[in-house]
């Protein structure tokens, strides 16, 4: 395929680069892993395969061969040869077709998966793009006008025209004003009493200083009873840090591997996709749940995705 227009920020991302964090190598990967995996499942790929992560304003692409594709995630008004087509469905595009995007209606990031996946080099086990370091994905950078990208060929799954749809009941609770569920972090106990209550009840605004690295929040200034001199330690996706200015930061896909700020809580895995769809100006609230509940919710989502995958694979034969 040829990129006629790259859109706002379009990068190749798979599930992420794991196993090298002890060398300081970030995980990167899709901000919304749910949408990534469903898009891949719908076109018959491995769920963690690389897709195109599209941000707000989508690209314009000309296909130079027949493709089975799916667009999942934000509602960015995709069209094929100027005809709108539905997201969260597999769609067949003949060679010579033009894929384009229009108005951004809801959410922030969408994923374009094609049957076979994108043919970019695997670096340290992953096809994800590490923008700051300039490697991975498509030449370590965002897509530009004129780029040509090849699709890998898969051995199964001919150009089936069967249209799959996804039961909305298994979706994350996407919203522009969501409640993000969290588990307590090791420094939660340090909250000054009022601040702890504010953290779990008040609204926080996604500030303009928010991107793939992390979301800086504006809201009630939060205070700890003491700010410990923390030694740098590993952080995770969804870790919420509290620097001394009192404005929390949620760490996202391009977070650095270590941090020294107090960690007050972590957003649970099944709500990371919800966060991925937020834009500056959106608001969120936090709700605490137990570690066990968080793990049960994750396993339930995994089961749902497995069932979807089995259904797609089974019916293909």
């Amino acid at each position: 395929m040829i990129i006629l227009h790259p859109g706002f920020l379009t990068t190749i991302q798979d599930r992420g680069r794991y196993g090298f964090q002890k060398y300081g190598v970030l995980t990167n990967g899709a901000m919304d892993p749910f949408a990534l995996r469903v898009a891949n499942i719908l076109v018959g790929n491995e769920p963690d395969e690389a897709a195109m992560e599209i941000t707000l304003q989508g690209p314009s692409i000309e296909f130079t061969e027949d493709v089975n594709l799916a667009v999942c995630g934000a509602s960015l008004s995709p069209t094929l040869n100027e005809q709108p087509f539905p997201e969260w469905r597999r769609v067949f595009a003949k060679s010579g077709s033009h894929l384009s995007f229009g108005k951004s209606l809801a959410g922030c990031r969408a994923y374009l998966a094609v049957h076979g996946g994108f043919d970019v080099p695997i670096v340290m086990g992953s096809k994800s793009t590490y923008l700051r370091a300039g490697f991975g994905g498509f030449s370590g950078r965002a897509l530009q006008k004129g780029d040509t990208i090849n699709v890998c060929t898969l051995s199964f799954g001919q150009q089936s025209k069967r249209n799959w749809y996804v039961n909305p009941a298994i979706f994350p609770s996407y919203s522009s004003h969501p409640i993000a569920r969290v588990v307590r972090g090791p420094d939660f106990e340090r909250f000054a009493t009022e601040s702890g209550q504010h953290f779990l009840s008040r609204s926080f605004l996604i500030s303009p200083q928010s991107d793939r690295m992390g979301y800086r929040l504006n809201g009630p200034t939060l205070k700890l009873t003491e700010w410990p001199d923390k030694l740098s330690s590993a952080v995770t996706l969804g870790t919420i840090q509290l620097p001394s200015d009192g404005n929390p930061i949620i760490l996202m896909a391009d977070r650095q591997t270590m941090g020294g700020y107090p960690c007050i809580a972590q957003v649970i895995g099944v709500d990371i996709p919800v966060l991925a769809q937020l834009k500056p100006g959106d608001k969120l609230r936090f709700q605490e749940i137990s570690l066990e509940e968080a793990q049960n919710l994750w396993r339930e989502q995994e089961r749902n995705l497995q069932i979807l995958r089995q259904a797609v694979l089974f019916k293909e034969v």
């Binding site: 794991y18 196993g19 090298f20 964090q21 002890k22 060398y23 300081g24 190598v25 970030l26 670096v123 340290m124 700051r132 370091a133 490697f135 991975g136 588990v183 972090g185 090791p186 030694l231 740098s232 330690s233 590993a234 995770t236 969804g238 870790t239 650095q256 591997t257 270590m258 960690c263 972590q266 649970i268 895995g269 570690l291 066990e292 968080a294 793990q295 994750w298 396993r299 995994e302």
Partner: protein, 233 residues
């Protein structure tokens, strides 16, 4: 020997668990951290994805599909009880050539001025110790170094530079280090190394690993260019 049971284990989010061995920058604690991290890797705990050692902690990331926090805690406590730290640590000493001052060290004179020293004295004090790499993180290949002399600890610049070249050697407070990638930053830059700290195509991809010792070695600009040319090949 029963082994050391001096680590505390606690959850970090729903998909990671931390084993903490202490609370300060200490070589013995750090040795324990690295040793236990390697041990956990060798034991191949079911569901474990990777472990990340830091100053006093080992963080183990795991797959919630394949395990649970209570299971990970149980296994890690068991390992702590059976763990015997390595008698000898394989400590590599890595020489890091640095061209100090001039265009590579625009803040060298400032550091000298802050402490009433000559630039040469600052360089002498900087190269004297054998530094320990406590952890690698923050940026790929970035070494957290311990051992900077307090004769040259200097606060960060009031306003950061927008772009610091890769290989820049700097001082920020009581820390000294080397930027593996070009990034913005507020460090006081005193020199630059021609070494490449990070190779994505190699295994391991990072030049430094936790536990390494670093010796800075001053070189001339000509030698810098020569070594840089060799690196490029």
């Amino acid at each position: 020997m029963a082994g050391y049971l001096q680590g505390t284990v606690y959850p970090f989010g729903e998909a990671a668990v931390v084993i903490q061995f202490g609370e300060k920058i200490d070589e013995n604690i750090n040795r324990l951290v690295r040793s236990f991290g390697r041990y956990v890797e060798q034991c191949k705990i079911p569901g474990m994805i990777e472990q990340v050692p830091a100053f006093t902690t080992v963080t183990v990331f795991y797959d919630v599909q394949k395990s649970s926090y209570s299971e990970m805690e149980r296994l890690l406590l068991y390992l702590l009880a059976s763990f015997e730290p390595d008698a000898t640590d394989e400590e590599r000493i890595i020489e890091v050539p640095v061209c100090y001052g001039g265009e590579f060290g625009p803040d060298l004179s400032h550091v000298a001025l802050c402490h009433g020293l000559t630039e040469d004295s600052v360089i002498r004090i900087h190269i004297e110790p054998l530094y320990t790499v406590y952890a690698v993180g923050f940026s790929p290949g970035f070494p957290y170094l311990g051992g900077l002399s307090d004769k040259i600890t200097t606060p960060r610049r009031a306003s950061p530079r927008l772009n610091i070249s890769a290989g820049s050697v700097g001082i920020a407070g009581a820390q000294t280090g080397i930027y593996p990638l070009a990034t913005p930053g507020g460090w006081q830059l005193i020199g630059r190394t021609p070494l490449n700290l990070f190779h994505p195509d190699e295994n391991p991809p990072s030049l430094f690993q936790a536990g390494d010792r670093i010796k800075f070695v001053p070189i001339s600009m000509d030698t810098w260019k020569e070594l840089k040319g060799l690196q490029a090949r």
